[in-house]
Symmetry: C2
Subunit: 425 residues, 2 copies
């Protein structure tokens, strides 16, 4: 049987939905990459009773390892270490090395005289407490992590801080602690493969998977999950080495049935295909409804200055006419949200900024702005490629303002990849 | 005692960290707004045993209501209804009204002849099954929700679909179902107030809260959570009506101690203050390292065309010189990341796009690009306000590329608000 783990994310701010949890998904991915099956992820507030109940639940579920995040700060509501100690039936003891480490981190941040303020001393003393017999993990901030060994009855517990940067930088050391290494000895490395499609619905995929179940040998050894993300459908499959041929058969089956929708079987994202499609050409943007989101997407990756020159956010009509030469009469005749204007924006920005390729968007993101024949969600997207006929489309997206803007960015990325593929034929 | 609830988010794609959970936080906020205390949020994969274990755990924790999201689709791995039925000791029965509703939704999407394909019929029949004695909630997509009544031993269970848009549109009807109304009769409405600060550290706030605990009457009746979000610190406090004076005392205490850092006590965000500060003036952007994120932020809100004209993403030096007149000699002498260039960008874009106010950013987001004296994270931000001296600063942010870009957007928003306040003095 494979190694099972549970993750406990602590923090009233996460439980209350005030912030989204960045640690649970990250830890889950890291564990799965090393072949650990994550069975449960739980979130609790800053109440020790609730945390203790979740730890006991995970122990009842016979997980081999529990990873907790958060609750290691200097304040009184940071109770994870004390609660984990109670859970594992251990006293807390002062770790002198950690106390020294934390003090030097703090002195490195601020200049203090020899005597630290009493509030700082209290913080250090609190954060230097660990369950007896546990292994401390040196902090990146001021909170050390803790690895508590498993016993015959209880799983190992890895206690990590909440700030994502601290947690991530401490992860490699945490994975090397004795309690974690011993808890993970039985693991079977898992392989994760992802197929990405655009414009394929989940129900259509479900029909195909039902067919595949009948025809693909070893289908049941594949753990398949599907996920819509904007206009994209991601099909992720997890399997062990001995099911690799079953996965290959599944992938071939899906590609055959949905060749027009599946755009990557090797984990590539549309951003990768766009960069490849540019093949050294430069790109710029002219955005109205997306207001900079396409440009932000194109500058998201390190090294993007190799192909991305910049863009114009032509939100007002004056900027459309003044900065990228969209004729005012054209806007008056067809409206700012029209294929004519989208095309003029793309060609205008390419000319103005001297680029080989241009993406433009103009649409009605809502909630207001609808006009007869152009409901909220109407978006025109245009791709100009030097030496080619400009490609322009109109799409109708459903959703709120944020969703329409996001779906537009996805659609623009895909249309650009298609246009570049056409242009190289 | 207040009403307690648990939330169960299902889906291997969430548990695995492949997508971030948008439903848990949303449901949690809605429940808290109506005075329900969310005690636990759990995430499980598509395995019925794990889901059943989480439902039993929440029942053991004596919650009054369980809300589940996801697992209502037409495919074989969508097992929530069957598992909830097992949990509540009920058989599943066919709901004829729901079967009709789902069929009409599907026929509305696609034209089918009278006889539906057998795969579609199977989907409809599966999605029309509900636990005996439960109340069905009409679907927005094809998946009905279900409200299962509480018993003496078991909490009420509200079963909702996974797609966020479906869940959100079905929420009002779900809150009106008999099982939910009865489960929530004991609730005490809670008040949530938020104070926002910029440039205040969590440890400094912790010291203040420790002081407040000694001096503010009724402090212990306030549930305070703090949360860093980029460069901003959010202090959220939840309390019932009878603790309102304690909250007022706390807010006054914090404002007095951190008047230079706290920018809003009424829940306003910096975006609100910027719009107020503009007071009818227009704004544009010139962005290098943020690549469109500031413009996207300024066009994030409905109605932003009233003040936001547009902007230029001057990612390459040629766009800086060609589109917004940054002198090439200035870039050669001081570097693209310099206060001189930031100022020229802000003033240049304001002039070119005929705006009253301009924000510019130029910096090294990393991971590459550092030069001697300008490490990764060095960012220059400039705010030009018509008729005023342009304000320009250099900041050094820590973090990865994404963090540096986000911290730059936050800093630019705050600097703009400060500059507009100065300009009105």
């Amino acid at each position: 049987m494979s190694t099972r783990a549970g993750i406990v994310v602590t923090g009233t701010e996460v439980l209350s939905g005030w912030i989204s949890d960045r640690n649970g998904p990250w830890v889950s991915q890291r564990l799965r990459e090393t072949g650990v099956e994550v069975a449960h992820l739980t979130v609790c507030g800053d109440r020790p009773d609730d945390l203790l109940a979740q730890l006991c639940f995970l122990a009842d579920q016979k997980v081999d390892l529990i990873v907790t995040t958060g609750g290691l700060g200097p304040t009184a509501d940071d109770l994870t270490v004390a609660t984990v100690a109670e859970f594992s039936g251990r006293d807390v003891v002062r770790d002198a090395t950690m106390a020294q480490t934390i003090e030097s981190v703090i002195r490195n941040w601020r200049k203090y005289s020899d005597d630290l303020p009493s509030s700082i001393v209290a913080s250090i003393e609190k954060q230097a407490l660990i369950p007896e017999g546990a292994e401390a993990i040196p902090p990146t901030g001021t909170a050390p992590g803790v690895a508590v060994p498993a016993t015959d009855e209880l799983p190992a517990v890895l206690v990590l801080p909440g700030p994502p940067r601290e947690l991530r930088s401490m992860w490699p050391a945490a994975m090397q602690t004795g309690p974690v290494v011993r808890a993970l000895t039985d693991r079977v490395p898992a392989i994760l493969q992802t197929i990405r499609a655009y414009g394929l619905s989940e129900p259509d995929l479900a029909v195909s998977l039902t067919e595949a179940q009948k025809t693909v040998d070893g289908f049941d050894s594949l753990e398949i999950t599907t996920c819509m993300r904007g206009g994209e459908l991601e099909i992720s499959t997890q399997f062990t080495e001995n099911a690799a041929s079953a996965y290959d058969a599944l992938a071939a089956f899906l590609v055959e049935r949905h060749s027009d929708r599946i755009y990557a079987t090797d984990g590539s994202q549309i951003d990768d295909l766009l960069i490849a499609g540019l093949a050294g050409r430069t790109i710029v943007t002219a955005e109205s409804c997306t207001g900079g989101l396409v440009a932000a997407r194109l500058t998201d990756r390190a090294g993007s200055s190799a192909y991305m020159l910049g863009g114009v956010v032509s939100y007002s009509n004056d900027v459309k006419t003044g900065a990228i030469d969209v004729p005012a009469e054209m806007i008056a005749e067809h409206g700012a949200v029209s294929e004519q204007v989208a095309r003029a924006m793309a060609e205008g920005v390419a000319a103005h900024l001297h680029a080989d390729v241009a993406i433009s968007t103009t649409g009605i993101a809502g909630p207001g702005g609808a006009v007869p024949g152009k409901p909220v969600g109407t978006v025109c997207i245009s791709i100009a490629v030097a030496g080619r006929k400009t490609i322009t489309v109109t799409r109708h997206f459903r959703g709120d303002r944020r969703q329409v803007r996001e779906l537009t960015v996805d659609a623009a990325m895909h249309l650009a990849v298609d246009a570049l593929a056409d242009a190289t034929r």
